[in-house]
């Protein structure tokens, strides 16, 4: 559990949206993930969590920064090495319906990765697909079906099977459950946890469902407007929150337990997220933060280690310690 499988340093990704107009989707993000660990990334929509996940897998070219996978900088990888990286780092997509090819059978979809990365005979492929279908809880009769014949939960299982069959080390799960029903969500999350234990997988788990992220993650990073605001173990993040934005985000979760003092202790954030094209000068949250001081409006706080393993980007975190 000690070795870092993924090291991300000062990663930035901007998209050009007009003449001399750039949208900074990911802005100077650094984090590491250890082998066998789950790092959760949470934040509101548009905060850059998905872009971050995709850039890590090189589905997007990073604008700046460094990504190291097993100690190797992936920017310079070419040919065989690149192919090998793509085999070892897989992705599960958010929408199980639009991420499966409607004209391919489930067998073809799952076996596609095998064709690219391994040279196997038909029998071997059949055996492997059957095995993986079993592992994700589908019977092998599903192989001959098409995606439209499956329910949402079954499709997401196919998505998981497809990423697992090439035996990856890292899986980026981009909102794998947000399109599913509550009872099905629990099935998929249990499956992900079970597979992680069996295969020592590493997850980067992107979601906006905070209770689910807390459930599955060892550590959680909170993102706002492209930057990481707080990064800590899930226990620490929920119990000793140091960043005002994280506090507000956590208190907005409606817990499925009705209590007498409903709504009383909820912190209400005013206004909306500023545009990522025209970001505030100082701290990105300063426009909505109730603790904002003059310093917050002027300079941007860096991500510092407030306690061992607990990183926070806020000028005023000391008062919450």
């Amino acid at each position: 559990m000690s070795e870092n499988i993924l090291e991300v340093k000062n990663l930035s990704k901007s998209f050009q949206v007009g003449k001399n107009l750039y949208l900074k989707a990911v802005d100077d993000v650094s984090f590491t993930i250890k082998k066998g660990e789950t790092l959760g990334l949470v934040g509101e929509s548009g905060c850059g969590k998905t872009t971050c996940g995709r850039t890590v897998l090189k589905l997007y070219e990073p604008t700046a920064g460094e990504i190291k996978f097993n100690g190797v900088n992936i920017e310079k990888l070419k040919g065989k090495n690149m192919l090998n990286f793509k085999k070892n780092a897989q992705m599960i997509f958010q929408d199980p319906t639009s991420s499966l090819n409607p004209r391919m059978t489930i067998f073809e979809i799952i076996a596609e990765g095998l064709n690219v990365h391994f040279n196997l005979s038909k029998e071997e492929k059949n055996k492997m697909v059957k095995e993986i279908l079993f592992q994700v809880g589908l019977s092998d009769s599903f192989g001959n079906r098409f995606a439209h014949e499956l329910s949402g939960g079954q499709k997401q299982r196919v998505g998981i099977a497809r990423s697992l069959i090439v035996n990856p080390e890292l899986i980026v799960c981009d909102e794998p459950i947000s399109a599913l029903d509550v009872s099905i969500q629990a099935q998929i999350v249990n499956l992900l946890i079970k597979l992680q234990k069996e295969k020592n997988l590493t997850y980067l788990f992107i979601s906006h469902d905070l209770s689910m992220v807390k459930h599955i993650s060892d550590r959680i990073g909170v993102m706002y407007l492209g930057s990481i605001f707080e990064l800590a173990t899930s226990e620490e993040l929920f119990n000793n929150t140091l960043n005002p934005y994280t506090k507000a985000l956590l208190s907005a979760i409606p817990d499925a337990e009705p209590n007498a003092d409903k709504n009383n202790d909820r912190i209400k954030i005013k206004g909306e997220v500023p545009s990522p094209i025209n970001q505030p000068k100082g701290c990105k949250f300063s426009t909505r933060c109730e603790y904002a001081t003059e310093e917050c409006h002027k300079s941007r706080p860096e991500l510092v280690e407030a306690k061992p393993g607990h990183f926070v980007a806020c000028h005023n975190y000391k008062q919450f310690l």
Binding site: E44, S45, S151, G152, G153, D181, V182, S183, I184, Q185, A186, Q187, V189, N190, I193, H208, L210, S211, M212, K214, H215, I216, S217, D218, S234, E235, F238, A248, L249, A252, I253, P254, D255, A256, E257, P258, K262, N263, R266, K268, I269, G271, E272, V273
Partner: protein, 338 residues
């Protein structure tokens, strides 16, 4: 409390090539002024179809509302209303917020015009008065720069703002009932909290009744007064929020409550997952629809449909376990799963 809406034995079917899909199978409930009633259940359980039937929004050539169904609004049967009566009923008496704020607004009309539309139609206001009224509505739903936003098009606004516009449209004519079909599903948690607080405030201010359609038990726990749990087109349990969350009786309700991760849970503890999927709605289902997935299924569950058992005045359960001869089973809705 005054009863404003009652639904009796509502049955809706859709005729498809595969057969008759019985989406809603005998739903009844009463709605009183000033209360929030939540419809909870998995997708495909008939929540939205019920809501749309109340608004008479189902296309009549596809959806078949059975003859003996009744939707009584203030003494009048909605299903027998003429076109003219419906015009007055929709928007004026009952407002609806749709699930997806992105696709439910007209992209070619300014937000102001969309709010004014119903005001001009129902209230007989001229354009100027309607604009004033629309401005008031935008302020009520707390849109910053309300004046400017009147002339904005939906694509210029964020998801949370668009949802507020939808609420403003639905509330423009002061309806007595507001149907909110998954009002926050497409939104972020922080915005969700803002919108739900807003709805709660408006409910008290205008003494509206709200029907909240959702599958998010967290939202329900915080905002509803009464809950009806639906499964395969039927109401299987109903009660006040305390009854459902602290003393649920139906195994399906237990399963629903158990499958949500609590914030107090330990990390990576296995979540309770309900096996299987809901039944095919083409089947006639003469027995309990949940029987196949139910851990406590008895022989009778697979044969005869249970009647609703009245526990207390407001708490009703349709389950054979409630029968005096049934084995007594401990409710296990917050049992820790190892």
């Amino acid at each position: 409390m005054e009863k404003i809406l009652s639904v009796e034995n509502l049955r809706v079917s859709f005729n498809t090539y595969a057969g008759e899909v019985r989406a809603v199978r005998g739903v009844d409930f009463n709605l009183h002024a000033g209360e929030t009633l939540a419809f909870v259940g998995e997708s495909g359980c008939g929540k939205t179809v019920t809501a749309k039937a109340i608004m008479r929004l189902l296309k009549e050539d596809i959806a078949d509302i059975k003859k003996d169904s009744k939707i009584i609004y203030k003494g009048k049967d909605v299903l027998k209303m003429s076109k003219k009566e419906l015009q007055a009923y929709r928007g004026d008496e009952v407002g609806m917020i749709f699930q997806d704020p992105m696709s439910s607004l007209n992209p070619t009309m300014t937000c102001g015009n969309q709010i004014m539309e119903s005001l001009i139609l129902h209230r007989d206001l001229d354009k100027k008065e309607a604009r004033q009224e629309a401005l008031k509505m935008l302020k009520l739903v707390k849109i910053p720069d309300a004046e400017k936003r009147l002339d904005s098009y939906p694509h210029e606004l964020s998801g949370g703002m668009r949802q507020r516009i939808m609420i403003a449209i639905a509330l423009a004519c002061n309806p007595s009932v507001l149907i909110a079909d998954e009002p926050t599903t497409a939104l972020d948690v922080t915005i969700q909290a803002q919108i739900m607080d807003l709805l709660n405030e408006l409910k008290h201010e205008l003494n509206m009744a709200i029907i909240l359609v959702t599958h998010d038990l967290g939202v329900v726990a915080n905002f509803a007064d009464k809950i009806q749990v639906m499964y395969a087109g039927q109401v299987i349990e109903r009660g006040t929020i305390d009854e459902i969350f602290s003393a649920p009786k139906h195994p399906y309700t237990w399963a629903l409550l158990k499958s949500v991760p609590k914030l107090s849970n330990e990390n990576k503890q296995e979540l309770y997952a309900l096996e299987g999927t809901p039944p095919d709605l083409i089947l006639p289902l003469k027995h309990c629809p949940f029987a196949k997935r139910c851990k406590y299924g008895m022989k009778i569950c697979h044969e005869i449909m249970p009647d609703a058992t009245n526990m207390t005045g407001s708490h009703e359960v349709s389950c054979w376990l409630m029968h005096p001869d049934a084995p007594k089973i401990e409710a296990d809705f917050h049992e820790e799963v190892k």
